[in-house]
Symmetry: C2
Subunit: 670 residues, 2 copies
C-alpha cells in the first residue's frame, strides 16, 4: 500500500489513522481498528458534505454526526482536531483516555464540544441519531415556511457490526423507516470483525436486506478503503432520496494499513504495539513522528473553519430574514433555543383538596401533561404502545407521522429501548425540545441502558412510568415492579419521583420540567389504581423530596414514611395509632433523590435522629429503605415477586393495608 506520493486526501485520511494509532499507542488503551478502517468514509463526510462550524460547535443548523460505534472515539477526536475545533487540541489527543482529559475512552457530549451524544454502549448512537432526525423533522415542519427555511440539516451516523447486532438498533431502524426520515444517513462500517473474531462466528445475516425490510434506502460501497469517489457518490445518492433514511454499507478493512493485524480482532480493541506501529508507518508511507500532522493536511482540513463561519453567517442572514417575516415564530424559536420556560408556565399545574375525587396518579399525570403540553409546545413524546394505559396522549397535538412531523404524539411501537434512546436524541438536539417516553414501570428494564445514558449524557428526558406496583394487578409478576424503583433510584443523576396524589403529581411535573431545561432527567412513577387526594400534600413539598404531612404534638413516638399510593395507608395508620394514644408523624417521601440533596438541618427537621422508630410504607422492595428507617426501623414492603390477581387483592395479600401498617408500627413501638 505504500505510496511514494500521496494525494492531499490520502494524507488527510492517514492523519486520522495515525492520530488514532499514536494516541492509542501512547495511552496503551483504545480501539484503533475502526478509526483506521473508517477514516476514508469519515473524511469524505466531514470534508465534502457535513456543514458545521468548528468555532461554534453549538451552531443550531449544523449537521449532526454520531459515532455509534463509540469505541472508535479517536476517529471523532481526530476529525475535531483536524477540522479546527478548539475543544480538541493535539495536547488533548496526547491525553487520550487519561484522567480529566477532553478525549475520554468513548465520546461524551458533556466533555467534548463537537460531540453530540454519548456513545459506547452499542446501538445507542444510531437510535440517538433517529431522535436527532426526529427533532430536525419536527422543527422543520413547525418553523420552516415556503419562503423561509431555518431548520435544515442532516444527521449522519457511523455504526458498526456491533451496533447492528444489538436489538435497539433494529428497533430504531424500524421506526425510522416507518417515519421515512429522509435526512438520516447511516454509514455502516462493514468490516467483518468483532471482538470475538470474524463476524462469521455470530453475524451472518444480510444487513442490507434487513434495512430494506424496514423501508430504508440501501446502498453499498464495495471498497470503502480507497474508493473515495464511491463514498461521495453514495452520500450524494443518499441525500437525493428524501422520503427514506439511507443506510450505506461501506465495506472496509478493520485496522487498514497494519500489515499483520488488519482484518483481525487483534486490532479491534488494543494498541498496535511499537513494532506493528512502525510497520504500519512504513506500509502506509507515513514518515511523520507521532502526533505530527503535515502542514499540507492542516492547510486543507482547517478550511472547515472558514467554511463553517460562512454557513453560520448565511444561516444568521436567513434567520434575520425569517425574523422580519415571521416575528412571532422567530421569537418562539429563539425562546426554544434559549432553554427558557415561558413566564408563569407552572401556573397551569392543578392543585387539589381532599374533596376532589380519588383518581389514579396516571390520570393526574395525563391532566398535567395536557395542561403543560398546551403552554409548552416543546413537550413532545409518547408511549411504547401503551398510550391509553399510560395516558400520555397530548390531546389535539396530532400524531407524529410521515408527512405530519409538526405533530407531537409519538407512537414508538413496542420498542422501549429505542424509545429511550430516541428521546435522548431529541433532547440532545439541544433545541429546547423536551421529550418524554412512557411505558409500564416494570418495562424500564427493557430501556434501562437508555435511562442511564439520559442521566449520564445530561439529556433531560422525562420518563413517564405507570402501573407502578403490584397494584397493577391481574397481569401478574411479569408486569409488577418490585425492585424497579430501587434499581432506578440507584442511578446517579436521575431524579425519581413517585407522587401520592394530585398535588404531588403537579409537584412532580414541576420538577421534571425544570430539570429537563437544566438537562437533567426525571423518572415519574404513577399508579394504575385510584388514590385519594390527601390533606397537606403540596407542590412545594415534592421539591424537598420529603416533608412532614401529619405531625404529633411534641417528639413523635414513631415516624411513618409513605410514598405514592401507600402514603394514604400511612395516613390511615397514623389516625388509628393516634387514637390509640401514640404520637405519630407521617412523612411523605415522593423522592429519595431530592431528599438526599437537602441540607442536614432540613433532613433533621423531617427525620430527627432522636426518633429511631421509623416505618416505611411502599409497595415495592425494601432495598434502599434502611437509609431512612435506620437500624431500629422497619419496612412495609415486598421482597418477593408479585402475583396475578386484582390489584386490590394483591395489595391486601402482600400486607399493604392500614391494619398491617398499624400492626408493624405497634411491633416497632414494643
Amino acid at each position: 500500500m505504500a505510496v511514494a506520493t500521496q494525494s492531499t486526501e490520502e494524507l488527510c485520511i492517514n492523519s486520522i489513522r495515525f492520530l488514532a494509532v499514536d494516541a492509542i499507542e501512547k495511552s496503551k488503551s483504545g480501539h484503533p481498528g475502526l478509526p483506521m478502517g473508517a477514516a476514508p468514509m469519515a473524511f469524505v463526510l466531514w470534508d465534502q458534505f457535513m456543514r458545521y462550524n468548528p468555532k461554534n460547535p453549538q451552531w443550531f443548523n449544523r449537521d449532526r454526526f454520531v459515532l455509534s460505534a463509540g469505541h472508535g472515539s479517536m476517529l471523532q477526536y481526530a476529525l475535531l482536531y483536524l477540522m479546527g475545533y478548539d475543544s480538541v487540541t493535539i495536547e488533548d489527543i496526547k491525553q487520550f483516555r487519561q484522567w480529566g482529559s477532553k478525549t475520554p475512552g468513548h465520546p461524551e457530549n458533556f466533555v467534548t464540544a463537537g460531540v453530540e451524544v454519548t456513545t459506547g454502549p452499542l446501538g445507542q448512537g444510531i437510535a440517538n441519531a433517529v431522535g436527532l432526525a426526529v427533532a430536525e423533522a419536527h422543527l422543520a415542519a413547525k418553523f420552516n415556511k415556503p419562503n423561509a427555511t431555518i431548520v435544515d440539516h442532516y444527521t449522519y451516523v457511523i455504526l458498526g457490526d456491533g451496533c447492528n447486532m444489538e436489538g435497539i438498533s433494529g428497533e430504531a431502524a424500524s421506526i425510522a423507516g416507518h417515519w421515512g426520515l429522509g435526512k438520516l444517513i447511516a454509514l455502516y462500517d462493514d468490516n467483518h470483525i468483532s471482538i470475538d473474531g470474524s463476524t462469521d462466528v455470530a453475524f451472518t445475516e444480510d444487513v442490507s436486506k434487513r434495512f430494506e425490510s424496514y423501508g430504508w434506502h440501501v446502498l453499498h460501497v464495495k471498497d470503502g478503503n480507497t474508493d473515495l469517489a464511491g463514498i461521495a457518490k453514495a452520500i450524494e445518492e443518499a441525500k437525493a432520496v428524501t422520503d427514506k433514511p439511507t443506510m450505506i454499507k461501506v465495506t472496509t478493512t478493520i485496522g487498514y494499513g497494519s500489515p499483520n493485524k488488519a482484518n483481525t480482532a487483534g486490532i479491534h480493541g488494543a494498541a498496535l504495539g511499537p513494532d506493528e506501529t512502525a510497520l504500519t508507518r512504513t506500509n502506509l508511507g507515513w514518515n511523520y513522528a507521532p502526533f505530527e500532522i503535515p502542514q499540507e493536511v492542516l492547510n486543507h482540513t482547517r478550511k472547515a473553519v472558514e467554511r463553517g463561519a460562512g454557513y453560520e453567517t448565511e444561516w444568521n442572514k436567513a434567520f434575520a430574514d425569517y425574523q422580519a417575516k415571521y416575528p412571532q415564530e422567530a421569537a418562539e424559536f429563539s425562546r426554544l433555543l434559549s432553554g427558557k420556560l415561558p413566564e408563569g408556565w407552572d401556573n397551569v399545574l392543578p392543585t387539589y383538596t381532599t374533596e376532589d375525587k380519588a383518581q389514579p396518579t396516571r390520570k393526574h399525570s395525563e391532566i398535567c401533561l395536557n395542561k403543560l403540553g398546551t403552554i409548552l409546545p416543546e413537550l413532545i413524546g409518547g408511549s411504547a404502545d401503551l398510550t391509553h394505559s399510560n395516558l400520555t396522549e397530548l390531546k389535539g397535538a396530532g400524531d407524529f407521522q410521515k408527512g405530519h412531523f409538526a405533530n407531537r404524539n409519538i407512537h414508538f411501537g413496542v420498542r422501549e429501548h429505542a424509545m429511550g434512546a430516541i428521546c435522548n436524541g431529541i433532547a440532545l438536539h439541544r433545541s429546547g425540545l423536551m421529550p418524554y417516553g412512557a411505558t409500564f414501570l416494570i418495562f424500564t428494564d427493557y430501556m434501562r441502558a437508555s435511562i442511564r445514558l439520559a442521566a449520564l449524557s445530561e439529556a433531560g428526558s422525562i420518563w413517564v412510568m405507570t402501573h407502578d406496583s403490584i397494584g397493577q394487578g391481574e397481569d401478574g409478576p411479569t408486569h409488577q415492579p418490585i425492585e424497579t424503583l430501587a434499581s432506578l433510584r440507584a442511578i446517579p443523576d436521575l431524579t425519581v419521583i413517585r407522587p401520592a396524589d394530585g398535588n404531588e403529581t403537579s409537584g412532580a411535573y414541576k420538577i421534571a420540567i425544570e430539570k429537563s431545561k437544566e438537562n437533567a432527567s426525571t423518572l415519574l412513577a404513577f399508579t394504575r389504581q385510584n388514590v385519594p387526594n390527601l390533606a397537606g400534600t403540596s407542590v412545594a413539598g415534592v421539591a424537598k423530596g420529603a416533608y412532614v404531612l401529619v405531625d404529633s404534638q411534641g417528639t413523635p413516638d414513631i415516624i411513618l414514611i409513605g410514598t405514592g399510593s401507600e402514603l394514604s395507608l400511612a395516613v390511615g395508620a397514623a389516625e388509628k395509632l393516634t387514637a390509640a394514644g401514640k404520637k405519630v408523624r407521617v412523612v411523605s417521601m415522593p423522592s429519595t433523590t431530592l431528599f438526599d440533596q437537602q441540607d442536614a438541618a432540613y433532613k433533621e427537621s423531617v427525620l430527627p435522629k432522636a426518633v429511631t422508630k421509623r416505618l416505611s410504607v411502599e409497595a415495592a422492595s425494601s432495598f434502599g429503605w434502611h437509609k431512612y428507617v435506620g437500624t431500629e426501623g422497619d419496612t412495609v414492603s415486598i421482597d418477593t415477586f408479585g402475583a396475578s390477581a386484582p390489584g386490590g387483592t394483591c395489595l391486601e395479600k402482600f400486607g399493604f393495608t392500614v391494619d398491617n401498617v398499624v400492626a408493624k408500627a405497634k411491633a416497632l413501638l414494643g
Copy 2:
C-alpha cells in the same frame, strides 16, 4: 360467519375462543383478541402436529410450545384444558387471573404444568424458544446415534406484532438464523393490531423479508382465520426444511368472531362485555353456556391423552434400546435429566494461599469455569462478543455452530438481551443443562429483563459478569458500573456474588452450580484488574454471604465490610488502624443475598448490634449499604458516574485507597 352446523375442528376452535371470551368476561380482565384470532393455528398445531403427553407434561422428548405473546394466556390454558392436562381444569379456567389460581394473567411455567417458559414481557418467548431449540440441537448432537435417536423434538412458538417490534426478538432471530435451527418453527400471528391501534401507526416494516434476511425459511398463510389446511400445509413445509428455522406469517383477524370489536384495539386487552359476548356467540353460532364445552369437542381433543401416552411409551422403548446399546451415554443422559451433580464435582474447585499470585477474579473465574466444564458436560454458554475479556471460553469444548451443535462455547454476538433469554430457554428445557451468559457487568442493563425472568421463572441460569467497577478503567463512565450491583441485588430470588479473590471465586461457583441445579439463578461479578489472594478467605465463607475475615481481641471498635476487589483495602486499612491501637474487625461480604438468608444468631455473630461503627468499602453505589452499616455507619462508595482513565487512577481518584478507608474509619471513630 354463523354456521348452522360446524365441523368438529370448528367446534374445537370455537371452544378455545369461548373459553377465552368467557374466562376474561368472568375475571373482567385479560386479552381475548389473540386467543380468538390465533385459535385456528394453535388448534391445528396442537391437534395435528405437536407431540406431548398431557398426563406427563414433563416427558422429556415432548415438542416445546411457547406462547411468546403471553398476554394471550387464555389460548394456552384453553389448549391445556382441552387436551387433557390435569394442571388446568375448567374450574381453574373460571379462576383466570385470580389469587392463587393455576391460570395467571400471563403463562408462568412455575405455576402451570404444561407451560414451558414464563412469557408476557414481549419478545422474551421467541428468544426462550431459540434457547429450547439450542438445547434440543445440542443434546441431539451429543446423544443421538446413527441407529438410536432419543432426542428429537420441535420447538413451536406463537408470537405477535408486539414480539416482533421488540429488539430482543430481532437479536434472537438473527442468531437462530445463523445457527440454522431447523426444528424451530415460529407462527407469527399477523393481526395488524397492537394496543395503540392499527400497526400502521408504528409498525409497517416487511417482517417476512426481515426474517429472510436473518436466514430463516419464511412462509405465509393468507387466511389464518379459516384456512386450516393452509396452516397444516405450512407447518408441514416448515418441518421439511431442516437447516433453517421457519417463520410462518399467519394473517389473522384479532378478536375473530366479535361483530363489533374484531380487528380493533378494543378487543386486544379488555373483556368484550356482556352485549358483545352475546353477539359473538350468535355470530359464531355458539349455543353453549359459559365454560360449557360440547362433548364432541372433548371426545376429539382428549384423544391427545392416548396419543401422548403412546408417544411416551414409544420413546421409553427407544430409550431402553439406547440404554442397551450405549449404557454409558444413557447413564449420563439419565444423570442430566435427574438434575444430580456427579459425586465430588466440587473437588475440582481450586483453593489458594496468600503465596499465590495476584490475578483478576475474572481469571479465577476462567479457571473455575474450565475445571467445572470438564467434569460437568452440562455447562454450556458463552459471551456476548467479549469471550476473551470475560474469559469464558471452555477450552477444548469447541464452538456451538451449525453442524457442530455438540460443542459448548456459544458465541451470542453483541446481543446481550437475547443471550439472557436464550440461556433461560436452555435452562428451562429442563434437561439438566446449565447455561451461562457473560458480558461486562454494566451491560446487564441491556439484558435486565431476562435476568429478572431467569429468577422469576426459576431458570437456573448463571450470569458471569466481568469488569465490575470503575477499575474497568479507560473505557470510561459508559462502561463502568456504579449502581449496577445495587440494581441487581434488589432483584428477588437472584443471588449476586462478588468474590474477593481465588478462594471466594471458587466459593461463588460452588453456589452458582448448586443453585442452578435447584433452578435458581446466580450472578457473579468479577474484576478486570488483579487482586491479591487474602488470608482467611474461604469457599465456606461465601456460602454464608458474609463472614469474619480479620478479628480483634474483644469487641471491635469498628467493623470494616469489604466486597470483591475492595476487600483488600479493608484488610490493609485494618492493619493500619490496628497498628494505631484500634480494635478492628474485617468482614468479607461477597453476597448480601446469601447473608440476608442466614439466621439471626449468625448475623449477630458477624455484625453485632453493639458495634455501630461500621464502614462498607465497595467501588460502587452506596445504595443499599445502610442496611449493613446502620445509622451510625458510613460507606466508602461512589455515587456519581465514573471517568475515563486507567483503572488504578480511577480507583484512587474516587477514594478507593487504604488511606482513604483509614481516614473514613477514623472519622467514624471520632
